[in-house]
């Protein structure tokens, strides 16, 4: 998929209060006769030019997993907090996604359930700055792709995304780096399936969250670290999935 950042034009708001044609009645004279047609045409063109916006907003559930006996600190970098994706589907439509807040809504309860103790860092820590934790985690959303039904036989809007979890020791030593993917699809209708794309994005995020909560402890580097540091999870705990 082609990624392109598009600066959307502001939403066509015109202040008519100072216009000479606006009389005391409050009815602008410009909106009569030919002007009405002109305004309609401009509005139509503006509508065609602006991108369809999907602001992913959802409350994600807290995973039902036994917490690992680990004290963790999580740093959400600005790129994750403000993640946006713009893309134009040639000869079809233009889309803008905002996933920053949704990612935070996904990770906060997730890490809260996954570790015995969690704190959120406001800035990137210096090596050795927070020695009272066992792990530092920095998630990143590094890929986002989507598709909408464009053929008669296709019925689903689809979203695919990839987070990457960076896991460090408090002294800054890298422990693990784990790409986690999520996929979601949702039945779409209409030419601009905004709701279906939103639903598909939420599903993809839920899948990524599910994978992290079930398989974090079984990642080879994480598992080795847990064993070496005697934080190994109990039997039947998360990590054996």
């Amino acid at each position: 998929m082609v990624r392109r950042r598009v600066d959307a034009s502001p939403g066509g708001v015109v202040n008519l209060s100072s216009h000479p044609d606006v009389r005391n009645t409050g009815v602008p004279r410009v909106l009569s006769g030919r002007g009405l047609w002109l305004a309609a045409a401009v509005a139509l063109l503006a509508g065609c030019a602006s991108a369809a916006r999907v602001e992913v907003a959802s409350q994600f559930p807290t995973p039902l997993v036994e917490p690992l006996p680990v004290r963790a600190a999580v740093y959400y970098e600005d790129a994750l907090r403000q993640f946006a994706h713009s893309e134009t589907i040639p000869q079809h439509s233009q889309w803008e996604f905002e996933l920053g807040q949704a990612s935070l809504s996904l990770f906060r309860p997730l890490f809260g359930a996954l570790f015995q103790q969690v704190e959120t860092l406001e800035r990137a820590p210096q090596p050795g700055e927070i020695p009272h934790v066992d792990l530092i985690i920095a998630p990143r959303l590094e890929r986002f792709e989507f598709d909408i039904p464009r053929h008669r036989d296709s019925r689903f809007a689809e979203v695919w995304m990839q987070y990457r979890l960076f896991v460090y020791a408090p002294d800054g030593t890298p422990i693990a780096e784990w790409p986690v993917t999520g996929y979601g699809k949702s039945a779409a209708s209409g030419t601009l399936p905004r709701a279906a794309l939103h639903d598909a994005a939420v599903r993809a995020m839920r899948e990524a969250g599910a994978t992290i909560s079930v398989r974090f402890a079984s990642q080879p580097d994480v598992r080795n670290w847990l064993q070496e540091n005697r934080h190994a999870p109990h039997a039947a705990q998360n990590g054996d999935g």
Partner: protein, 261 residues
């Protein structure tokens, strides 16, 4: 091994489908007044008869396979979940809701748990990528910390996994309409065939086993004949599949003594 022979309930819906009262009532006077000729009125009647016969070619097949005794006590609930792990299809949300609504109605109405409450409360264990695909995986799931307790809190005894889809499988004919200063009208015949095919796998969380399977396959042919006025005879196989499946599911879950050896 199934304890019961498959019980097949096949229903053929012969010309019981009535034409829509509004369109049928409105069509004849319109045709008569516009065409005026006996020949054309006869051709209209012929098309109507063909359409009614064609819409009668709608079949429903409901099959049930029961593996273990069922029955449901007061306070026990049912949740219906759509299988979402296929890349090409998944049971439509409105179909799942339709079956849930139908199950909760009537003298034997069942208590249906909210799909989203259930899946959220047990997150991540019923997400498409993680959810158990067969009942053999249930014991491992229930052994996970907190899962059995959370399931008990939900009051859900039966999980019904809904799989399948409704799709248009065939179609043909042609219908053209035109409008002019003297009026407007359509002529021709268009038809299409829709297949609603679903399977419900019933898991009994109390006995940690699959209680059985119910499948519904409903095919319906829709026809739009038009002589000046188009007359749509639309079959609704998905609605029929919903009704049939819900009725069978209700019997399956409520009636305890269905096992035969």
């Amino acid at each position: 091994m199934p304890l019961m022979r498959p019980r097949m309930a096949t229903a053929r819906l012969t010309p019981s489908r009535r034409p829509h009262p509004v369109t049928a009532a409105g069509a004849k006077p319109a045709a008569a007044s516009t065409m005026g000729g006996t020949l054309r009125a006869l051709s209209l009647l012929a098309v109507l008869a063909a359409a009614i016969l064609a819409t009668g070619c709608s079949t429903a097949q409901i099959e049930q396979l029961k593996h273990s005794r069922t029955g449901i006590a007061s306070g026990e609930r049912v949740v219906i979940l759509a299988r979402q792990h296929h890349s090409t299809h998944e049971a439509e949300l409105d179909f799942v809701e339709c079956v849930g609504n139908a199950l909760s109605r009537g003298a034997n109405g069942l208590e249906i748990a909210s799909h989203s409450d259930f899946v959220n409360g047990l997150y991540p264990w019923f997400e498409p990528a993680i959810a158990p695909l067969n009942p053999e995986e249930l014991p491992a799931l229930l052994a996970r910390p907190g899962v059995a307790e959370r399931l008990a809190e939900t009051g859900v005894r039966y999980v019904v996994w809904m799989d399948g889809m409704t799709e248009r499988v065939d179609g043909g004919g042609s219908l053209s309409c035109a409008a002019g200063p003297g009026g407007a009208g359509c002529f021709g015949l268009a038809w299409w065939e829709t297949d609603a095919r679903y399977e419900a796998a019933v898991w009994d969380l109390k006995h940690v086993d699959q209680a059985g399977l119910i499948s519904a396959d409903v095919t319906g042919r829709s026809v739009i004949p038009a002589v000046i006025v188009p007359l749509p005879f639309i079959s609704r196989p998905q609605a029929n599949a919903c009704r049939g499946l819900a009725q069978q599911l209700q019997e399956f879950l409520v009636v305890e003594d269905q096992l035969t050896r």
